[in-house]
Amino acid sequence: MNIIHLLFWFLSGLALVSAIMVIASKNPVHSVLYLIITFFAISGHYILLNAQFLAIVNIIVYAGAIMVLFLFVVMLMNLNADTEPPKNRLMIFAGLISGGSLFLVIIAAIKKSDSITNLVQLNTGDAGLIKNLGKALFSDYVLPFEISSVLFLSAMIGAVVIGKKN
């Protein structure tokens, strides 16, 4: 049990606990903040896997841009714990049962696999370095890259059209 394994268990526990707090907390602002903690823990996992580019992009795009957008919308609507609609106990129970049985079914299906004990390369390897990713992105994947810029443009126009007062 060296430092990398300790970090793995710590980040996994942090991600799971804050993910559960996202759906358990009453106040939407707290949910957003717990989701930011989850994203930071997942970025820590990317760093452990030596995928530094994805770790940085995850922090910048998710924790930086997307969650600020969420926080902005939550505060724009003035949502507090008081405006939370009353809960239906039966619905919560049914949701927990469904999610838990989905978890058990997938675990039981995967548990018997032979390749489940394959090792993951931690803290070494150059697949995730920005040099290799950039070379692949601008040679083999240049068409999807350009198409994603069109996707962003259409998303931007769509957001403006939907949000426009008419």
């Binding site: 990398i4 394994h5 996994s12 991600a15 993910a19 559960i20 996202v22 759906i23 957003v32 989701l35 989850t38 997942i42 996992h45 990317y46 896997l49 030596n50 995928a51 580019f53 994805l54 992009v57 795009v61 998710y62 841009a65 997307i66 957008l69 969420f70 919308v73 724009l76 609507m77 949502l79 609609p85 809960k87 919560i92 049914a94 949701g95 999610g99 838990g100 989905l102 978890f103 675990i107 995967i110 489940i116 004990t117 090792l119 993951v120 390369q121 931690l122 390897g125 697949a127 995730g128 990713l133 083999d140 999807p144 994603s148 996707l151 998303a155 957001a159 403006v160 939907i162 949000g163």
Partner: protein, 108 residues
């Protein structure tokens, strides 16, 4: 580290997201749970890419390709969030609530 721990972690995160979508009625929280599920899948893709990188029969560019898939998933998620939050703001403007149970009809 064995791949099974990453698989179990990703499945647990995904199922937490599923439970959130099924139980919460706040549209923003449902949307955040969808982001959580996307991130669980991204984590699993990166772990599989690093598992494949040390496999003896590995294709040389496969690990890089997997991480670019994750990059494109993030791109699509960012575009999705933009449109989805615009729809939620529009819904709040029309119904003065973001409870999804108010939206059980497509008309009126």
């Amino acid at each position: 580290m064995q791949i099974q721990y990453y698989i179990f972690l990703a499945i647990a995160l995904f199922c937490v997201g599923v439970v959130g979508v099924l139980t919460r009625r706040n549209a923003i929280i449902i949307f955040m749970c969808i982001e959580l599920m996307l991130n669980a899948v991204n984590l699993l893709l990166v772990a599989f890419s690093k598992m494949h990188a040390i496999s003896p029969t590995a294709i040389p560019t496969a690990a890089t390709d997997a991480q670019l898939f994750v990059f494109f998933i993030m791109v699509v998620a960012a575009a999705e969030v933009t449109v989805g939050l615009a729809i939620i703001v529009m819904m709040y403007r029309n119904t003065h609530s973001i409870d999804v149970n108010f939206l059980n009809r497509l008309k009126n």
